[in-house]
């Protein structure tokens, strides 16, 4: 497999000022993306992931029930985990069972599979500053080994500000439907992600690692141009992008 193709994408950014500055379309949280049952108790992280994923599947005209999914997040369900850690400081700590099972990193992946009745594999991945690059690499490997198509969803809700100073303050999610190989009517095709050894660049997105997806999403939204570009997708990770 030489390349993978982008069949559809979506993005969600709850902060309207940040959203307005993005060079590609992004939505606020779309509560209709979620079954009523899940809305009430789901986190910002899970709601954003659903919003972006629903948009990507719609654009790609694919049923979410058929797609294996890779969910990636630096800090996962950090707001729920934060509440649990505060509770655990009390001498008579009472942990809520649903808060506990909603604190796992694969909460969004689990609810997505339940909501979409999707029995395909769903994974949940984290890689710090390189979370977007490693998510794209995992997607590449799944498509290289098994073919077909998959859904990639990257999301980070806002982190409590005392956890990592001036980091994780931008809530953002993006999703992509990707396919093995190339074909007509694709937004872009991508090479295998690769590391640029020796170039220890300080990423522009250190404060919010998932913003490493912005160059690729910008290019996808611009679309249509026949071009080849090398894009940064993490601290020292790159991908070659081919236009339509």
């Amino acid at each position: 497999m030489e390349r993978i193709s982008l069949l559809g994408f979506g993005a969600c950014a709850p902060d309207c000022d940040f959203r307005a500055g993005l060079p590609f379309p992004a939505s606020e949280i779309n509560r209709d993306a979620m079954p009523v049952m899940l809305r009430r108790r789901s986190s910002q992280a899970t709601q954003m992931a659903f919003s972006a994923a629903t948009q990507a599947c719609a654009q790609a005209e694919r049923s979410p029930a058929t797609l294996p999914a890779v969910f990636a997040s630096v800090a996962g369900e950090i707001q729920t985990t934060d509440q649990l850690c505060l509770e655990l400081c009390k001498p008579d700590a009472m942990v809520s069972p649903s808060a506990f099972h909603n604190s796992v990193q694969n909460t969004a992946a689990g609810y997505w599979s339940i909501a979409q009745q999707c029995t395909q594999p769903a994974t949940a991945l984290a890689a710090g500053a390189d979370t977007f690059a490693m998510a794209l690499l995992e997607a590449w490997c799944q498509l290289a080994c098994h073919g077909g198509e998959l859904l990639l969803v990257c999301y980070d809700e806002r982190w409590p500000n005392y956890l990592a100073t001036e980091r994780g303050q931008t809530a953002f999610a993006c999703a992509m439907v990707l396919a093995a190989g190339t074909g007509p009517n694709v937004f872009l095709s991508l090479s295998r992600p690769y590391a640029v050894v020796g170039e220890d660049l300080i990423p522009a997105t250190e404060a919010d690692p998932l913003l490493a997806a912005l160059p690729l999403l910008t290019l996808a939204a611009a679309g249509g141009k026949r071009q080849q570009l090398c894009l940064s997708i993490g601290s020292d990770w790159r991908v070659d992008v081919h236009g339509r």
């Binding site: 850690c85 500053a129 098994h146 980091r167």
Partner: protein, 400 residues
């Protein structure tokens, strides 16, 4: 969808495990042969309820000063495993053979360094600030101990964590196999690491799943689960003439229940699909399997669901057993720990027993091996790991 049906096998050229059974594989092997329960009252912190845990009781090594920002119980467990047997030497040899950029690390964990986060929150409430040495991205987040191992070993290849609760490190093995098959890496160190913490003990207690006594998977009188901690490391490489003596990872079957966040599908549909997928990916038939290492947590719902799943896939199920009565449920580490146990069974030639079993639950109706069977040389073992979110993985292993 056009999905390729098979995946080529990879070699497991070294593996190690630190657990409640002791510091290394030899201690684990001895505990398995003795079918000795290693569960004891928790010493790490105080609990307001009765239970026993699989705690690693030996002192853990310190993280070197240059990597101090990564220091946490999880990283120290991983380091302790790395210092046992030949796993560090084997990884360094792989680096020498292939170059550091071609050696990756994929770690499975559920709660990473949260034990230290919990302590830091006490300071947050007291001082209105986290302690100055608290490093969120180097201890708390799921990839933290993977990055620690990467720096400790000087690896330059891909580095990430899979965190899908109790299937995490089984799925990390699948991700590592794909990195090799897709020719991204020439060697991948897989780690399964989880450490005891308040969150999981209080959390499972809130779900009314914690047993006050040593757990008894698949037993009619089971009373819930015990939590454990462990670190297992496995080095994966493509098969070549130099590693024909190494056991093979044939495939990892993965799938979703699409049913419930914390309860398995009552008919075991998702678990059965994961086992079937492992067999299909490796082009093997159910009747070829010699032994199944069950996930068998000793929660009633899990045990019954898994038993139904096994009977769906296997008309005549092979000998089966679960090991959580020895070590407790090591959560995100369980997948890798129980693959290490299955590899010991393949390498040494025995079937591990089901510690804690007195009277098998007749509803399970599986051929459970109560005591280790030393007169059996298995060739093919299936090892199950199922997690919250209905996240299922089944690992198929073959003897060298």
């Amino acid at each position: 969808m056009n999905r390729t049906p098979h995946i080529p096998p990879v070699a497991i050229t070294a593996y190690q495990c630190v657990s409640a059974a002791g510091d290394n594989l030899n201690a684990l092997h001895a505990a398995l042969l003795a079918n000795r329960n290693c569960l004891r009252p928790l010493r790490l912190f105080e609990l307001p309820f009765e239970t026993v845990v699989g705690e690693v009781s030996t002192s853990l090594p310190a993280v070197r000063s240059t990597l101090q920002t990564y220091a946490c119980r999880n990283a120290r467990l991983a380091l302790h495993a790395l210092n046992q047997g030949n796993i560090r030497a084997a990884t360094e040899q792989a680096i020498a053979r292939h170059g550091a950029a071609r050696v990756g690390v994929v770690l499975g964990t559920s709660t990473s360094g949260i034990y230290e986060t919990e302590i830091a929150y006490q300071a947050l409430l007291r001082d209105a600030a986290m302690p100055s040495d608290f490093n969120f991205l180097h201890t708390h987040t799921a990839q933290a101990s993977a990055e620690f191992l990467r720096h400790e070993l000087g690896l330059r290849g891909p580095c990430y964590s899979i965190s899908t609760a109790c299937s995490s490190s089984a799925k990390a093995l699948g991700a590592a196999q794909r990195l090799l098959v897709a020719d991204v890496c020439d060697a991948v160190l897989v780690a399964g690491v989880d450490s005891l913490c308040r969150l999981t003990l209080f959390g499972f207690n809130s779900l009314q799943l914690i047993s006050p006594d040593a757990c008894r998977p698949m037993d009619i009188q089971r009373s819930g689960i015990n939590i454990g901690e462990a670190a297992a490391l496995l080095l994966l490489e493509r098969p070549d003439p130099g590693n024909t003596e190494s056991p093979r990872l044939l495939a990892v079957g993965e799938g979703s229940d699409a049913h419930h966040m914390s309860a398995p599908h009552p008919e075991g549909l998702g678990a059965a699909a994961a086992m079937r997928q492992a067999l299909q990916l490796a082009d093997r038939r159910p009747e070829q399997i010699d032994y199944i290492n069950l996930h068998a947590t000793a929660s009633i719902l899990n045990d019954l669901s898994e038993a139904k799943a096994v009977r769906r896939v296997f008309r005549n199920p092979p000998p089966c057993a679960g090991v959580k009565g020895l070590l407790g449920h090591t959560l995100g580490a369980a997948g890798a720990v129980e693959v290490a146990i299955s590899l010991l069974a393949l390498d040494k030639g025995f079937l591990p027993g089901n510690c804690g079993l007195r009277q098998a639950d007749p509803q399970c109706a599986l051929p459970i091996v109560a005591e280790p069977n030393l007169n059996h040389q298995p060739r093919l073992i299936l090892s199950n790991a199922f997690g919250f979110g209905g996240n299922n993985a089944s690992v198929l292993l073959e003897a060298a």
